[in-house]
């Protein structure tokens, strides 16, 4: 057993626990340093996002007891009582760690299936740990493979292509009409949670001009300050509506706020340039007949929710493809790991055989008197050569033959077969 993972995520721990066990960048590096200096792990990497905190480690002598030591360390590091923390923790070992990490970087273990951010978070965590010399050959290889599979899953499946939130679905639709939004203008009506999500999406897409309007001007100004937008006067619709290409309305009204005559006037003022309206209010903020206007595209909360549901189903249907890719990479990693371990085992075996060879010769040649010291030395050399041939040739083949490495999955059996407990690393 070599690789271990102890962690928690949104499935196993409520947000209150996740908050307490999260690591800042500095804390992650400090924990890695301490875990190595205390001899719990030889290589360490801490992956901490808002949905998970996981400690990956490598220790040749790792067993379930030392994994428990890692849990105890987490408990003491974050000053959370073990009885509060342990029920939320999961422990994975070796192949399960590899599979888990690959699923994480592919977005299969995310709250939002297939989300892209996690791959960047895995990469950042790896780069920081690598720069801090916390990782070694095994974790370097493991995380590089995880980044590779993360990219491959996104390139070869549709897991990450479809928007999964109402706000991002709306933005994707706007991009279907205008292309990139970086040279476009948007107006957001309302300053609630939904509006904030939309504004965040617009900013992510580097919208050129962001206008905000709200019944409470004070709140609109606060909102505008936070997102670098400009406040438009609430009610001055003829002026406000002629500029933006995207209008998002998420306010509480009894009657539609954006009526057909209002949008007709706006379209006339903007030279009939296409207009995308996202109506995220309930009751609806946009008069349904506005959708009949030329070059106007109206999407309500229901329309966007339906798109998100379709996308969710489509993403789920891509999971088997992603899992198949992951299994392929898990197999590759296991083969690599096994070959590295086997080369180590062969080295130990060679040393052990040489040791035994001396005792064996001494015992067997003791009664034979006609052998000169030169003969005895010659027999010793021949036996050494035999040992070298028996062990070095397989090791060299293992280094050079990829197919052979794939076949080797269980070094433990070889280790158990040939080495005594004392000789095992």
């Amino acid at each position: 057993m070599e690789i271990v993972l102890v962690g928690l995520n949104f499935r196993t721990a409520p947000v209150e626990v996740r908050e307490r066990v999260s690591f800042s960048h500095e804390q992650a590096l400090r924990a890695a340093e301490e875990l190595r200096s205390q001899g719990i792990l030889e290589e360490t990497l801490v992956l901490s996002t808002c949905n998970r905190s996981e400690v990956y480690g490598v220790n040749p002598g790792m067993n379930r007891e030392s994994a428990n030591a890692l849990s105890a360390y987490l408990s003491s590091f974050h000053k959370v009582r073990p009885d509060q923390l342990n029920p939320s923790l999961y422990h994975h070992y070796d192949h399960d760690v590899v599979r888990h990490l690959f699923r994480v970087s592919a977005g299969l273990d995310s709250m939002l299936l297939g989300e892209a951010e996690i791959l960047g978070q895995v990469r950042d965590a790896y780069l920081r740990a690598h720069e801090g010399h916390a990782t070694g050959p095994v974790l370097n290889r493991l995380f590089q493979a995880a980044l590779e599979i993360g990219k491959r899953v996104r390139a070869e499946t549709e897991l990450g292509t479809r928007p999964m939130g109402v706000a991002s679905a709306g933005m994707k639709l706007a991009e279907r009409i205008f292309g990139k939004l970086s040279d476009r203008s948007a107006l957001v009506l309302g300053a609630g949670t939904i509006s904030e999500q939309v504004v965040s999406q617009l900013r992510d897409r580097s919208i050129k001009n962001l206008y905000l309007s709200n019944r409470s001007r004070e709140k609109a100004e606060e909102f505008a300050k936070q997102y670098d937008g400009r406040v438009m006067e609430w009610g001055d619709w003829d002026n406000s509506l002629k500029q933006p290409d995207v209008i998002v309305s998420a306010v509480g009204v009894q009657e539609p706020l954006l009526t057909k005559p209002l949008i007709e006037r706006a379209m006339s003022a903007r030279g009939n340039r296409a207009l995308f309206l996202m109506d995220l209010g309930l009751p609806r903020n946009v008069d349904p007949t506005v959708a009949n206007l030329y070059n106007v595209y109206v999407y309500t909360m229901d329309d966007l929710t339906e798109i998100v549901e379709q996308n969710r189903a489509a993403r789920k249907s891509e999971v088997p493809k992603a899992e198949a890719l992951i299994e392929e990479h898990v197999g590759k990693f296991i083969s690599w790991q096994a070959s590295v371990e086997l080369i180590g085992v062969l080295d130990i075996l060679r040393g052990s055989m040489r040791e035994r060879r001396s005792a064996f010769l001494k015992e067997k040649l003791e009664g034979i008197n006609h052998f000169t010291p030169q003969d005895r030395e010659h027999i010793g050399t021949l036996m050494d050569e035999l040992i070298e041939k028996l062990l070095i040739v397989p090791a060299e083949r293992l280094r050079s033959e990829k197919e052979l490495r794939k076949k080797i999955q269980n070094v433990e059996a070889i280790r158990a077969l040939y080495l005594s407990d004392r000789e095992k690393p």
């Binding site: 479809r162 279907r176 009409i177 292309g179 009939n272 296409a274 030329y294 798109i307």
Partner: protein
Amino acid sequence: MTHQPFVILTVLAYLASLGLYLNFLYTGKELTGRLATTLMFLGLVVHYVALLLRAKGTHTVPYHDLQGSMSLFGWLLAVTYLCLEIYHRQRTVGPFVLPIILAFLGAAFLIPPAHSAAVQNLPHGVVFALHVTLSILAYAAFALSCVLSLIYLGEERLLKIRRLGDVVWRLPPLELLERMSHTSVLVGLATIAVGTALGFVAVDRLPQQQTYFDPKYLVTLVVMALYVVYFQLARTASWRGARASKLCVFNFALVILSFTVVNLYFSQHHRYF
């Protein structure tokens, strides 16, 4: 060496490319898209060899008969499309253009030779060759703008009625389709203008000066005027968007009319171009 094996190879390359483009449209796999473009480029090269060998075999230019003229049109359409794909970095139009190229190529291949009689006494020289090539290139560019306009109309309709399906997410944005269509029309207008001017120069250089009226002149002028109108209207408030796209489709219907009915039944000197 006969050109027939190269025509078959061209059709196979275009068919394989079409299959890959369709797969790219449905799956979005970048590698498939690149392979589709590569195969289309290979098809283009083989198509060129086929045109060259045919011209050598018949000791004349491709536009000397209907078969050659249609094949040349298909080749120029493929060239125009590939340039547009590279310029706008947009592959999803490929599945809509390739069937037209294949249709022209197939039609050229299937036309009985009796219906593809060569035009007698065609003028010669570089100016005339440029006149014909540029005119056919203009038709190809107009064909491309028509395809783009049809995609625009389809996508716009789906966005309007909120039925997106799987493919809409991969089609070019409406705004880009408009720009691509404008680029094609601009190329078509420029080439048809220069081509037509060169046609008059070629006629002027004929040894025996003759004045005659060819209905093709009038139709070409109408086509040019309509595309200029499209180009202007597409920027105005009341026409931008779907209306301009419909006009573009209408204009191309006139181009088809010019390329077929006018050429075959009314024109004396423009049978196949």
